[in-house]
């Protein structure tokens, strides 16, 4: 097996493992549009990162975390629905990214690479960041798990039982921002939310407890990455869309088998 395929596999499997449990919360708490908003801001993050002389990935991560904080703190306001706020931030950031890109003559960005992901260009350092960062994110999620689960069921009940609802909610948003930033290079801006949602949604039919669903989401994500990258290698298709397509097919198979 070629080394670049090995790297791609290592990165993809690491991401799938991390995306499973986080994807469950995205599904339970209806945060899909939140994930999309972070993804749409990625282009602006790339430009800011390059202008600041940092790596594009670092730019994406910093901007995603900043937006997560802003969105988390703006949840208290009631004048606008949350999807309206997300739409403003999402498209505002996308437009700003495209405008900034056109203004910078000496910056060349592989737009298609960012939109669709370029897992085959992933280096060993990226793999190390995904596994190291992923381990930290999962550890943090494990710490927050009881509070997050209680908050997902009923915020008042959770607060009455002594859970710190605000800390759990902000913590989850920050962690998802990091996961989305990490996944961007592999599956691309357009499809990053799918990596969170599709395996988790497929896992729903197989689980009787939240923990089972999180585990199944990771397992199904891993299968999707292996099948998707295999197909990408075999048929010379783009890696990100191939992985997502494999996940969607898996979802369909699981639902059919459970009828």
């Amino acid at each position: 097996m070629d080394e670049f395929l090995l790297r791609a596999l290592a990165a993809g499997l690491g991401l799938a493992l991390v995306a499973g449990p986080f994807g469950c919360f995205v599904v339970w708490r209806r945060m899909a549009y939140f994930g999309d908003t972070l993804a749409h801001s990625a282009l602006l993050g790339v430009v800011l990162g390059m202008v600041a002389g940092l790596s594009p990935s670092l730019g994406i991560a910093v901007l995603a975390v900043a937006l997560a904080v802003v969105l988390g703190l703006s949840q208290g306001q009631k004048k606008l629905a949350s999807d309206t706020v997300l739409g403003i931030v999402s498209h505002g950031a996308l437009a700003a990214g495209l405008v900034a890109l056109s203004l910078l003559d000496d910056v060349r960005v592989n737009l298609v690479g960012w939109l669709l992901g370029d897992i085959l260009a992933v280096g060993w350092i990226d793999v190390a960041v995904i596994w190291g960062g992923g381990a930290v994110a999962l550890l943090a999620l494990w710490k927050l798990w009881p509070s997050l689960l209680a908050t997902t069921i009923d915020e008042d009940l959770a607060a009455a039982e002594g859970h710190d609802v605000t800390r759990a909610r902000l913590g989850l948003m920050l962690l998802i921002a990091l996961v989305v930033a990490g996944a961007m290079k592999v599956v691309g801006v357009l499809l990053v939310t799918a990596l969170l949602i599709v395996p988790a949604a497929a896992a729903r039919a197989l689980a009787r407890t939240p923990e089972q669903m999180a585990l199944w989401a990771s397992v199904l994500g891993v299968v999707a990455v292996i099948c998707g990258l295999g197909g990408s290698w075999r048929f010379d298709t783009p890696s990100g869309p191939s992985v997502v397509l494999a996940a969607v097919v898996l979802f369909g198979l699981v639902r059919l088998s459970r009828r």
């Binding site: 599904v27 339970w28 708490r29 209806r30 009881p146 689960l149 209680a150 997902t152 069921i153 009923d154 008042d156 009940l157 607060a159 009455a160 039982e161 949604a201 729903r204 689980a207 009787r208 407890t209 939240p210 089972q212 669903m213």
Partner: protein
Amino acid sequence: MSRLPGGKPMSALVRLDDVSVSHDGVLALSGITLTVEPGKIVTVIGPNGAGKSTLVKVALGLLVPQSGTVTRRTGLVAGYVPQRLDIPASLPLSVRRFLRMAAGKGDVAAALDRVAAGHVMGRQVRDLSGGELQRVMLARALLRQPDLLVLDEPVGGVDMAGQAEIYDLIAGLARDEGRGVLMVSHDLHVVMAATNEVVCLNRHVCCAGHPENVARHPEYLALFGPRVAASLAVYTHVHDHAHRPDGTVEHLPDGTVEHIHVHGPDCRHG
């Protein structure tokens, strides 16, 4: 143990003193004073929109009042049964797992048996009937070994026989185990039977007192009497004052009311 201003130790589990709450400038609660002692059941009754659930949230510390003070005993463990629970359809949750969330240790099977719902242990919470869910939530609150039980309409969706069973259980929890209970109810009959104090709420405390004392008063008839038989679910309350749509009190001119009730001993308004 918490001390009240003045240094006396506090025996009450929770005490609200002249508490007012408004949502976006609309007064939801005004000048509420209320105390729950260990072993006592305080029941709040009132029409829809009277602020019953808001009062519950203030007592639990989920909502900070704009004015007045709320004192909870230090280290107080509260068990809360909300009025309803909207569990996302996408979240798989067995009854066993739901109970375990409240208390990692503790005998979940015994807790469920105690509320006569042992048979639902393996079911998904979303598949429970309204009455079964109420029982499971009560079992979950009990698993926390609470000093104070806060129950927002604890028999919603429960059939008549089951209601009596649950109220008996709640009464036993207060009488035999010394737990304090703050309960919201629509049901006047049950309020009279299983409570130490009744608080009639309509954004302000209309009247409050021991149900038997209240029942001995001639005003009791004016308050509940003629309607009691017919008012299992509907709370009617004939007043010497009217409530404007925003909940403030409007005193009616003499002669326009059919009869005038005298307010209970703890009444705070004319």
